[in-house]
Amino acid sequence: MEIFGIPAASLVQSFINGLALGWIYILIAMGLSLVFGTMRILQFAHGEVYMLGAYAVYDFVVLHGLSFLAAMPLCMATGLILGLILERFFFRPLGGEFLPTIMIALGVMIVLQAMATVGFGVTPKSIPSFAPHAVEVLGLRLGSDRLIAVAVSIALILLLYLFLKRTKLGLALTAAAQHREASLLMGINPTHMSVAAMAIGSVMASVAGGLMGSIFPINPVMGGTALMKGLIIIILGGMGSLPGVVVGGLILGFIDGVAPVVSGAATAAIAPLFIVTIILVLRPQGLFGHE
């Protein structure tokens, strides 16, 4: 059976592969949304945190011989340290000024890319897959590494959800994101919230990088694509909405999986932007955002 001239099995397989990658994009977008919601800054260097997370795993696994399982906590630590450095020394001194923050973030993005290029070279690198085999489900072949990446992403997202809803710090973060001045009046320290948001966001980005790095080759400019996807997701889903980020990520994953096969890579590249444009025209706050 064929759909749009493509064998149905191939289409379904591409759809599922795309959804699997979509869950990794959601990790990136969650971090970006958290930082934007709390600090009111567009963290353009978020893609580079993702990229350095991938290189951290490469360094620990390939150059130092650690297992993937041992390397992931170190990857998270790398993301955490990087996030804290960025918040303390680059964003906090600007006091939340919008334009200077964008300029600084762009500058940091370029510097981190250059550092990765100098440190690791421009040649793509490969991290051995942590699960290099496929499972067959209902006649479809799915990469074990992708399935595990989905499970890890879902677990982290659930953890984040529980943290934001059930812990004091999480509730404070949510409050700070909803209304900064009101939360200040309630005694919530905005600086502590910024540190927490940046730390959590950077850890999520670096984990996403580590997971993606074992599926695809890594290179110093991979962060740009990740940032673009993160932005598309949070615009699609709605700024500050966790369910929105999940739905936006799955929509993007679907497009990324199916569009290249049905209509070619060129259409697949512009389809998400086209959809974002339509969404912004019809519903500017995104699918789940508040007006």
């Binding site: 591409s14 690198k125 490969s126």
Partner: protein, 410 residues
């Protein structure tokens, strides 16, 4: 009074002789030092193929250094030092056209080399042709011009100074059949340019080697995820896979996806990046029984000329790892230099005429071995460099050029 007259005479003499001194000095300077020959290059030095484009620019510069160290190109009584002007083609026709305009009309180059993507090369040609500048192609996806444009009788001011990928089919399929006698069936994976003739050529070459092509799968050149594609290939249950025209990441991704889905047979990768790039992208654990059509200068048995290029790279760019792709631009410059010296002229029309007349085997020196210009029957013009090419095998971390062949180009 007398002093004043003496002073005026001295000034007059000085003024009379000054132009003579200047002219003489100029002549001496020209006679003593070489002139400059500017050559433009348009390669994708940013974007996904940036690493390849940069390696090409390095290769161009290294050959220019070699020629300049020897005093430059000898053209009549003059010597010409080669100076390259590198521009970024970005794999895009718009950027390549803008770069070509700058090189041709502002920098006044006589020769332009580039680009990797055929549409970008075509955009360059739209600029070089009316200006009488020789365009030296650095790659073509479509040598038979089924959909795109390339060398031909109606484009005499283009030459392609490297063999096209399809010329390797026969040698590769023969090697595959001989080395893996249990391999009987192959799936051919080709990019989705309308390359019907190329695919038919691949099928014929496979059949001639006693192999059956059980399927042809097409992929989009811009894809970044090949998992489903690998599944589609493996549905044919082939003993071997032959892939063509992939970018460096794509070849690695296809190999990785196929291996992760349990495929253990040999994989041929033609027209893609060097073996080093494939190994870096696919990982050593997936890179066994891979055959590639690019040279590997790190092979201890590589030709001395290849090793020399690698040594020069390591001396000039000690912090940048060597990239085998640099061999091809080196040869393009070297062949052009030989043609210029034989033509005794830097006039592009003269040079291309002489180059296209160098059809005797061994007329041209390359790092791969002796070459010549061919393709009259196939393309209507002797616009293609024919020279030996290796079959490079990757087995885990080990890369080796196991066999050499010279393609036959009617």
């Amino acid at each position: 009074m007398r002093d004043k007259r003496l002073w005026m005479v001295s000034v007059a003499v000085f003024l009379l002789f000054l132009p003579a001194v200047v002219l003489l000095g100029n002549h001496c300077a020209n006679a003593a030092g070489p002139k400059e020959l500017k050559i433009g290059t348009i390669m994708p030095i940013s974007g996904p193929l940036g690493a390849i484009g940069l390696a090409w620019d390095r290769g161009f510069d290294l050959c220019a250094d070699m020629i300049n160290e020897q005093g430059g190109l000898k053209v009549g009584a003059d010597r010409y030092r080669i100076e390259f002007i590198h521009e970024d083609g970005k794999m895009s026709p718009e950027a390549s056209a803008a770069a070509a305009n700058k090189l041709v009309h502002q920098d006044k180059v006589k020769f332009v080399m580039g680009e990797i993507m055929t549409p970008a090369s075509q955009a360059i040609y739209e600029v070089t042709k009316p200006a009488g500048v020789l365009h030296i192609l650095t790659y073509t996806q479509d040598p038979y011009r089924e959909d795109m444009w390339a060398i031909g009788a109606d484009t005499p001011d283009i030459v392609l100074l490297m063999p096209t990928t399809n010329l390797a089919y026969r040698a590769f399929f023969e090697y595959l059949a001989k080395t893996y006698p249990n391999v009987k069936t192959v799936v051919h994976a080709e990019s989705n340019y309308p390359l019907v003739r190329i695919i038919e050529e691949a099928k014929r070459a496979a059949q001639a080697a006693g192999l059956q092509v059980v399927g042809v799968e097409r992929y989009d050149f811009g894809w970044s995820d090949f998992y489903s594609f690998a599944t589609a290939i493996l549905k044919h249950k082939p003993d071997a896979i032959s892939m063509e025209h992939c970018g460096p990441d794509q070849a690695a991704l296809m190999i990785k996806a196929a291996r992760e889905q349990g495929f253990k047979g040999p994989i041929m990768s033609l027209g893609s990046a060097s073996a080093v790039f494939i190994l870096a992208g696919a990982g050593a654990e997936n890179s066994h029984d891979i055959m590639a059509d690019q040279a590997y200068a790190g092979d201890p048995d590589a030709p001395a000329a290849m090793k020399d290029v690698k040594k020069r790279w390591e001396a000039k760019y000690p912090k940048e790892p060597w990239v085998d792709d640099a061999l091809m631009p080196w040869d393009e410059v070297w062949v052009l230099a030989q043609a210029i010296e034989k033509a005794n002229s830097i006039d592009p029309k003269q040079v291309v005429k002489v180059l296209q007349s160098m059809t005797k085997p061994g007329s041209l020196k390359t790092t791969f071995g002796p070459g010549y210009m061919g393709g009259l029957k196939t393309y209507g013009v002797n616009g293609l460099l024919v020279r030996p090419a290796p079959i490079t095998v990757i087995q885990g971390e080990k890369i080796k050029m196991v066999k050499w062949f010279t393609p036959v180009v009617p």
